[in-house]
Symmetry: C2
Subunit: 378 residues, 2 copies
Amino acid sequence: MCAETGAPFPPSLPTLQQLNPAHARLCLGVERFCRQELALAPGSRLVLALSGGADSTALALLMHLLAPRLKLPLFALCVDHQLRPESAEDARHVEALCRRLGIPCRVRRQDVAACAKAWGCGLEDAGRRVRYALLEEERQAGNADWIVLGHHAGDLAEDVLLRLTRGAGWPGLAGMAAKDERRRVLRPLLFTDPEALRGLLRTRGIVWREDASNQDRTFRRNRLRLEVLPLLRRENPALDRSIVTLHQLGEMDGDFWEKLLDAALGAHPWQEVESDDGPGLLLPRALLAALHPAARLRLYVRALRALGETSGAQGQARGATLLALDEALGQGRGNTRFQLPGGMEATLRRGSITFKKSIHSPRSRARPAPVTPSTSKP
Amino acid sequence: MCAETGAPFPPSLPTLQQLNPAHARLCLGVERFCRQELALAPGSRLVLALSGGADSTALALLMHLLAPRLKLPLFALCVDHQLRPESAEDARHVEALCRRLGIPCRVRRQDVAACAKAWGCGLEDAGRRVRYALLEEERQAGNADWIVLGHHAGDLAEDVLLRLTRGAGWPGLAGMAAKDERRRVLRPLLFTDPEALRGLLRTRGIVWREDASNQDRTFRRNRLRLEVLPLLRRENPALDRSIVTLHQLGEMDGDFWEKLLDAALGAHPWQEVESDDGPGLLLPRALLAALHPAARLRLYVRALRALGETSGAQGQARGATLLALDEALGQGRGNTRFQLPGGMEATLRRGSITFKKSIHSPRSRARPAPVTPSTSKP
């Protein structure tokens, strides 16, 4: 299905001054978010991730309007997943949009279905991995600072529900980051109501392309968005706002735990250790003994991430295992090994804990092949 | 509907030794929970809250089996809400059960519908208030230590979802406490699978009464349990286990924040202040300046609770307002007043904050009448 009708774009694109008061407020709200929450420095080079859908079309328009005010050089990448017959058409739509907005745009194609098959994972997972890998390649090739994604408050609510379902801990439960330094990702629309974005596009006569796969209930994310979230919003029409508040508390807590662990590790550093199985991290007894259990749990997660563990669908199993590990530490148990999801393990020995990749896990051997996509610049 | 058939109880009640291995494990798991998580001291006097439903019937049986091992004197209270024609029959069922188990039991009747009308609140809310008030009266009259409730892991999942919907913060989002010192409440079955409880009752031929109002979708809690939770469990059949893990993390974090605030308040105490509007709490500048924003947010909640604010359905509005208050503090704003839900207000002045009951709120004037129930001991 495609919402596109007649001429792809209205005769003239709006300036910020031509927006009605509600849309000007929306635009200035995003500007404030970029300045305050994201602390986006003037001159930052941004790669916009555009799909042709409503969210990324609104992202392109808003960043186009704000770029002169925030002094942001913009580039765009459209990744054609080749999963739907109309995907090439979507990419051409993005190119046309970017021409109108004066944003340099590249399209890169990747057979995501083939990747999913080769990697033994689902289409959603493969699509996400391909997309992020290509965006990161584009960011580095263009010497850009940030990848910019169009996720909004509806996506945030969906993500929190998905994380609750998967068994995430806290503050991970508070949803995707607005600013992810490690992955160089920004989400300037994360607190914005999606209906307001569509309203802006409609009012300005800017069309977008509907991705039929967003209605496909074989994907968990779609089932949560289409079946569960409406039931929760019926109970609380302000659900998305309250999840934004929860997210802000999560960001605060994340910052708190990072700083607390920085200080603890400054006093008692962890030690990098090498074994036949590869690198590991030893958390010394003095470090562990100095921390409250709640802080130790976050230390374990930090160590696992430093070793390359990606928190995925296994949050639940990891959380329960980390609690069991910490309980064993508290009981003074010795020489105990814990298998963790994501191909990791922890060994408890005389009050210290060593994390490393597990030689017992199939995941530590079978890795996805690197992405080597074809590239086009039509 | 009533599951009761024929003789109300089997000819002989089981002893712990007569249980099959799975049910013995269930029983010993509850014992371990009582000893470790609840740190239940031998000799503690317990008032069991019994309704005649499956959960509280299983609670009565399990506590009866564990009482000799844990040296726990047991008493029971059944509150007849008089909302359904069969409620008197439910109460008689509880009395018969308690006679068989050798647990002294009282029944107290209260016209909850009339209370709801008088207090201007919903039936669910009125029922909960009446129940807790009568249980607390019974606890004090019997010189008991704890009120014991039959909430299980399914109720915990339901409560977490309810709190997410209402906009709770963290660690409140992690659900009802297993041990609530302030309200003197214990929930020994909180990590137990409800199906295991029903299985125990069925195997031993112990009947329970079904409360038809549990199917009534005019209550939000029932809608979440009957409509939303099954959809989430379809995505993750281990959802309830992962929510137990989330709850454990929440308990840890709650303990962490309590201790951190104890230490901060030890160094820079808050000050009780009196005004024409009643008592308030002044958080001095030195206290606020010494804390990370994440800790200040918890300090605000602690101050509000100390002033008698009950965190209820307004979590969302409170969270957003507390974030705005803290942002204003960070910006050095002076003489700003924030209205909070629950009839409270906060005033920011020269880097300090005073919380007190708001004279502008209707809720500070209109209070529910005290509960004065009729009592029977048939």
